[in-house]
């Protein structure tokens, strides 16, 4: 094994590890707004590391150039898509999760996860 193969294997394995962290975060975190951290940051980093490892494996050429284009595209668009989805959720009235109870500035509104749908009855959002 040459040193390039070792470096590419390490990079792809690190990318797979960060993708695993993102998957576990989507399942384990308590709220939609905290789950967006898993898919917005950890997934992007894992994808960039894995594609960079494949570019190292391919060597210098047209394939690694196209892989770098894919890396730049993903690094630009994945957080933008996550932010757009989060903005849509916030503007349609999804309340964030607070530890141990309802929202502090509005204690009358209930804040369990099952009731925080997109059609939360509320008059004063936005």
């Amino acid at each position: 094994m040459t040193v390039f193969q070792v470096v590419s294997l390490v990079l792809v394995s690190a990318g797979a590890f960060f993708l695993l962290v993102g998957s576990l975060g989507i399942v384990r975190l308590p709220d939609f707004y905290s789950r967006t951290h898993a898919t917005g940051k950890s997934d992007t980093l894992g994808l960039m590391l894995a594609l960079l490892g494949l570019a190292v494996h391919e060597g210098l050429g047209i394939n690694s150039a196209k892989l770098l284009v894919a890396i730049v595209f993903v690094a630009l668009t994945n957080p933008v898509g996550t932010h757009a989805l989060t903005r849509a959720a916030y503007q349609s009235g999804l309340r964030p999760w607070f530890k141990g109870g309802p929202v502090p500035e509005d204690p009358t509104e209930r804040n369990t996860e099952a009731e925080a749908g997109i059609d939360v009855p509320g008059e004063g959002e936005r």
């Binding site: 094994m1 193969q5 294997l9 792809v12 394995s13 990318g15 797979a16 993708l19 695993l20 993102g22 998957s23 576990l24 989507i26 399942v27 939609f32 789950r35 967006t36 898993a38 898919t39 997934d43 992007t44 894992g46 994808l47 894995a50 594609l51 494949l54 494996h57 391919e58 047209i62 394939n63 196209k66 892989l67 284009v69 894919a70 595209f73 993903v74 668009t77 994945n78 933008v80 898509g81 996550t82 757009a84 989805l85 903005r87 849509a88 959720a89 503007q91 349609s92 009235g93 999804l94 996860e113 099952a114 925080a116 749908g117 997109i118 059609d119 936005r126």
Partner: protein, 94 residues
């Protein structure tokens, strides 16, 4: 070397299968959309690894870029569709 990539690809299929729990059992609509987007994001790496296995990475990278563009456009369209339903209603009523 390629066998190691096969092992990573098999592990990646399990990693991709994990957010489908959030797609099925998500409490809100946006959790389901987030899980679907995460599955689409992780699939890019799997497509590239399949390309390395077949030895046709030049073709599979184009598929990867097209898949990334489709995923991004789909996410933006869905987010735009679900932004401000009350405002949309108000505009439609008036």
């Amino acid at each position: 070397m390629d066998r190691a990539f096969v092992v990573i690809a098999v592990a990646l299929t399990i990693i991709i299968a994990i957010p489908s729990f959030r797609v099925i059992a998500g409490p809100t609509l946006f959790d389901r959309l987030l899980g679907a987007g995460a599955i689409g994001t992780k699939t890019l790496v799997l497509i590239c690894l399949v390309g390395v296995m077949y030895g046709r990475l030049d073709m599979f990278i184009d598929i990867t870029v097209a898949y990334a563009i489709l995923n991004f456009i789909g996410n933006l369209a869905i987010a735009k569709y679900f932004t401000n339903p009350k405002t949309e209603d108000r505009e439609g009523a008036s």
